[in-house]
């Protein structure tokens, strides 16, 4: 938690900065709207965290989100009855994509960077082929409620986010979380202590796939159907996780900080937007953040190590 603290300070600072420009921001409706907008990215960041802390990457989540939304629109095609079965199918599809990523990475020993980059291309190519560029079909009203609607004053997506966050924190506190971090920190030592490294890493990829499915459900409702809905989300999620102080290469950082990183990224975009800075700058800002965050982590680390070695 000590290491995770800076990101919470940064997040609080950004929220205050937004509130100064827009005094209504911290009032419940506006703030809930902000959380609702951030929810898909926060969920993706939580999923990405599991993969990164185990020492791998998942670049496939962005195109997985797109594929999920496009498939759902085509299968539901506006029909209310189809909604629930298709939701179940989306979850299953996310898990299966994660399973394939995991098995290819751990058993076939293809570096996850390549595995998931390949999966990104396969999924986006398949979506393109299937839709010919413009998705067909439509989501049902029930489906869209999850991303748009609310239960009383609280949006459904905020409730779903809360459930995901609680589940993620619990998973990391359980034995599974500890063995996952162990695999990311030193996989040889972990394996020689009885950790099933391949299995926990595969489960991490499945969690990431699951998080992409959930994010797709929220985004489909919130933003509607398009072939661009998930574009760039994998990099946003990785940026968020790194911003949360989670070490690339695994073994360090908390899931709460990763999610705070996603909120921070979203808050930063909101602030830029408030100042009228073009949304086109977002990728550039993100690029600066990811380099700076990794560089900061790299600078801190050897110093601490030098002190330890002496």
């Amino acid at each position: 938690m000590r290491r995770a603290l800076p990101i919470f300070v940064v997040l609080a600072g950004l929220l205050v900065a937004i509130a100064i420009v827009n005094p209504y921001f911290l009032e419940p409706p506006a703030f809930l709207a902000f959380v609702k907008r951030a929810a898909p990215l926060v969920i993706l960041a939580a999923g990405q965290y599991f993969v990164i802390v185990s020492g791998e990457f998942d670049l496939s989540v962005g195109s997985l989100v797109t594929a999920e939304v496009v498939i759902a629109a085509r299968l539901i095609d506006g029909s209310a009855e189809a909604t629930w079965p298709v939701l179940a199918l989306m979850i299953a599809f996310g898990l299966i994509v994660g399973l394939v990523n995991g098995i290819v990475t751990t058993l076939l020993r293809v570096p996850s960077f390549i595995t998931t980059l390949g999966m990104l291309l396969i999924l986006s190519g398949a979506v393109f082929l299937w839709t010919g560029g413009s998705p067909r079909g439509a989501l049902s009203e029930q489906f869209r409620q999850l991303g748009r609607g609310s239960l009383g004053p609280v949006p459904w997506s905020v409730l779903i986010l809360a459930a995901v966050a609680a589940a993620a924190v619990c998973a990391m506190r359980a034995g599974f979380g500890h063995t996952l971090v162990a695999a990311g920190d030193n996989d040889r030592a972990a394996a020689l202590s009885g950790v099933r490294v391949a299995r926990v890493r595969t489960v991490a990829f499945m969690i990431s796939g699951l998080s992409a499915a959930v994010a797709a459900i929220l985004l489909g409702g919130f933003a509607g159907v398009s072939a661009q809905v998930g574009k760039g989300l994998e990099f946003q999620a990785i940026t968020a996780v790194v911003l949360g102080g989670v070490a690339l290469g695994g073994g360090r950082g908390s899931v709460a900080a990763a999610m705070a990183g996603a909120f921070t990224l979203e808050a930063l975009f909101t602030l830029l937007n408030l100042y009228g800075i073009s949304g086109a700058l977002e990728p550039a800002v993100q690029g600066v953040i990811i380099i700076a965050a990794v560089a900061l982590g790299a600078v801190r680390f050897p110093r601490a190590r030098a002190a330890a070695a002496s």
């Binding site: 500890h178 063995t179 162990a182 009885g194 099933r196 002496s310």
Partner: protein, 477 residues
């Protein structure tokens, strides 16, 4: 030739060196000894320009020098040969020797000049088993050290620092290193020799500087000290009973038994481990000691032979059968460096879903001091890290515990504590197997000694056998 005066250094507010003086003359082998954390490595890194001292001066040949960067130290004639070699494995010997300052002729690297100069250097070091064009990857660690030294000479080094140079060497290679050191001193080069192995220090050193807790205890002629006196200086107390007493009664029932165990590295292994007994395993490097431990544990399983309990085919089966392994390479295979002491100590229990004991009791049991479960393990000394590794296994109460070089890189005080713990575990009914390339330790600890040679059991010796008897079995052809 070299004079360091009043050297002090702090890291993150923790003082690791204070007021250390060191004088070295040309052609001298000067040993620097001390427990882990005494400040040896820091002092050497200051000399090599890796760290800048907070206070104190360095003079070489009477001229005051300051090093802002290792390259400046190199230019001033200081070369450091680290425990972990820094050569590029996919380059040739000559390319490594001249790395970054290749001779150039008409804008091209002059390979011929580079190779002939390297050849000369190797010849002057009496090295004929390889040449300047060989790939470094193909050389043994001992030969790679020769390359490092050739590189130092090509830089006109006058002070060569060797940090635990024999740690990666097989026993028979140590003799080669001795020869090399003597060749260097014959040329008037001063050698600063950092090592844990006291015997080497007495074999080589002219003078010995003892560091303790970041300060110099003394500098003395090697001939004026003996092992006991040196240990006393290092730890500040007498360690006359180096090893805990052996088991009093006869050993208990057989807990683990192998007949005809074999795999690609081991052949026809017969071995019984009994409750209450410490069995030592001796052998030269490459004789299959580590492979034996990993086979018994299930990490690199036996593919043939009978074993009770059932031959483990994986680490998890080994753990389920009540077997634990304290690995040789603590950093690469033993610890999770970025995790807390608590998470390291509970790893096996968590991985196997075993019920866990309280972490405090566990750390108390292995006498970790101070027992801070929330501290990151990489900040601990080697000895304390090893105690945490031990706690990791004790959390699942194995019936057989295999120790592979349990006290390597561990300071003298923690070493005694680990020895006591091993004996205590045996007394409580565990079967203990211990691999060590330090023969005095092996003989001091073991109730019997199994000697391996080329993947086979060469023979078995009773407690208290002589080093000579062990070596004879291990090296016989």
């Amino acid at each position: 030739m070299l004079r360091m005066t009043g050297i002090g250094k702090s890291f993150l507010g923790v003082r690791v060196l204070g007021g250390v003086d060191l004088e070295v003359s040309a052609g001298e082998v000067h040993a620097v000894v001390g427990e882990n954390g005494a400040g040896k490595s820091t002092l050497m890194k200051i000399l090599a320009g890796v760290h800048a001292p907070d206070e104190g001066t360095i003079e070489i040949d009477g001229r005051s020098v300051t090093f802002g960067h290792p390259v400046e130290a190199q230019r001033a004639g200081v070369a450091i040969i680290y425990q972990e070699l820094t050569l590029l494995p996919e380059r040739t010997v000559a390319e490594n020797v001249f790395l970054g300052r290749e001779p150039v002729r008409r804008g091209m690297v002059d390979r011929a000049a580079m190779e002939s100069a390297t050849g000369e250097l190797l010849k002057s070091l009496g090295e004929e088993s390889f040449g300047p064009r060989d790939l470094v990857r193909r050389l043994s660690v001992a030969r790679q050290q020769v390359v490092e030294i050739a590189k130092a000479l090509s830089l006109n080094a006058r002070i060569v620092v060797m940090d635990e140079p024999t740690a990666p060497l097989a026993d028979h290679e140590v003799e080669l290193l001795y020869t090399l050191v003597r060749r260097l001193t014959a040329r008037g080069i001063a050698v600063l020799y950092v090592s844990h192995r006291l015997r080497e220090i007495f074999d080589l050193a002219d003078r010995i500087t003892v560091l303790k807790d970041g300060a110099r205890v003394t500098t003395a002629e090697a001939s004026s000290l003996d092992t006991a006196a040196l240990v006393r200086l290092m730890v500040g107390r007498e360690l006359d009973s180096y090893y805990p007493p052996r088991a009093a009664g006869p050993p208990g029932e057989v807990i683990l038994s192998v007949r005809g165990g074999g795999n690609t590295r081991l052949h026809g292994i017969d071995l019984d481990l009994r409750a209450g007994e410490i069995v030592g395993v001796a052998g030269l490097q490459g004789s299959g000691r580590t492979e034996l431990a990993k086979a018994l544990f299930g990490a690199e399983p036996f593919t043939t032979g009978e074993m009770t309990p059932r031959r483990p085919r994986s680490v998890r089966e080994g753990i389920a059968a009540g077997i634990g392994l304290v690995t040789e390479d603590r950093k690469a295979e033993g610890i999770l460096p970025n995790q807390r002491v608590r998470d390291n100590a509970l790893l096996v229990a968590r991985a196997t879903g075993a019920p866990r004991n309280g972490i405090e009791r566990l750390l108390e049991r292995v006498r970790l001091s101070p027992p801070r479960p929330a501290q990151e393990i990489r900040l601990l000394s080697g000895g304390n890290q090893q105690k945490v590794v031990l706690a990791k296994w004790m959390s699942v109460a194995p019936r057989v515990l295999l120790f592979d070089e349990p006290t390597r890189g561990v300071d003298v005080g923690a070493k005694a504590a680990i020895h006591d713990l091993m004996r205590e575990l045996a007394r409580d009914g565990m079967a203990v197997l211990m691999i060590s390339s330090e023969l005095p330790e092996l003989i001091g600890m073991s109730d019997r000694i199994v000697v391996l040679r080329e993947g086979r059991v060469a023979g078995e010796l009773p407690a208290g056998s002589s080093e000579e008897a062990v070596m004879r079995l291990a090296a016989a052809s």
